[in-house]
Symmetry: C2
Subunit: 197 residues, 2 copies
């Protein structure tokens, strides 16, 4: 990490940054409890703990005024009918936004607020998505062959709250339907909510 | 301006965003006092107040946690030996960074801190530049035919201080040399400094 200006390239079609500080690999086991079809999940995991997505991060001081950047790569695949996706998270400092610039692939960003507003936006090459403050976000790859690759940036003091989503799930899911990707209500989210007093 | 998530495309090769809130045009007259060759500047301006660069901005609340984004297009051209460039600025909230993702073209980002550190980084398609907090920045198009196009993003509370650069200039300039672009010390900056007590 330097205090000087720095550059890196996002070489197409590889899109792995020429310089990065951290490479995160998330596998099926990291999505434990998150998938719609828990039987399909258990059967797949018993076979192989497959790579679902990867993140390349550029390190900066995690303070307001700095910006954290990186590249997210969600691989094609499904657990039952549900497309491969990231864990998804709120920002710990909830009043912080995030932008995504889609470099390659096809998919969706699934989003929701603590108050229960939901939104699902399509992602494709050349499309910029602004996730306003307060919106949890999860990216989903719906291509059968191609990675969903996004460049992301957010205020460096944002932090990650994965716990809320791990506990409740997202209200909406993206599954493979008879005519392509379908956005459905998450029945497991409703079950969870129904358990509350 | 919406509170909901939103997307827009940066369609190649046009690179003008599909949605934007503000289109800024900066012409020769906006660079008054900034160019190395003041005679060439006056002669050009007498002929035509040419378009030097354009910015397409996406509006957001100008508060910490939000991110401002847009596209900057610096056209090819020169004033004397000096390549077309943006006015350049510090951020008013000086501890705020900015990122640039070069979509097309060739050029440089000229940068300096209030303490006199300088840096000049090349820009070309696919290259991401991180301008850390405290660094003033100006983009320069060095192609003879092609626009320098960058996607930029910065903390929405940053603000713009153009006045410091208008008064002092940048310490470094990019001019057309015998073997391509050359980075030189700005003699007009030194003159200005010499006028101080």
């Amino acid at each position: 990490m330097t205090d000087l200006p720095f550059t890196f390239t996002l070489p197409m079609p590889e899109v792995i940054p020429s310089n990065y500080d951290n490479h995160i690999e998330r596998r099926l086991s990291d999505l434990r409890g998150q998938c719609l079809d828990q039987e399909a999940y258990a059967a797949m995991l018993a076979q192989e703990n497959s790579l679902v997505y990867e993140v390349y991060e550029i390190k900066r001081p995690e303070i307001a005024g700095e910006i954290l950047m990186g590249v997210s790569i969600v691989h094609p695949g499904k657990v039952g009918r549900e497309f491969y996706m990231t864990k998804g998270h709120f920002h710990t400092v909830i009043n912080t936004a995030e932008l995504y610039y889609c470099l390659r692939g096809e998919g969706f960003m699934v989003m929701e607020t603590p108050e229960g507003d939901t939104d699902v936006q399509p992602l494709s090459s050349g499309r910029v998505l602004y996730v306003p403050p307060r919106w949890a976000h999860r990216s989903v790859c719906t291509s059968r062959q191609e990675d969903l690759v996004t460049f992301f940036a957010y205020p460096a003091n944002a932090g990650h709250d994965y716990g809320t989503i791990e506990q409740l799930g997202f209200r909406k899911l993206v599954v493979d339907g008879s005519r392509g990707p379908e956005i459905i209500d998450n029945p497991r989210y409703q079950e969870q909510a129904a358990r509350e007093p």
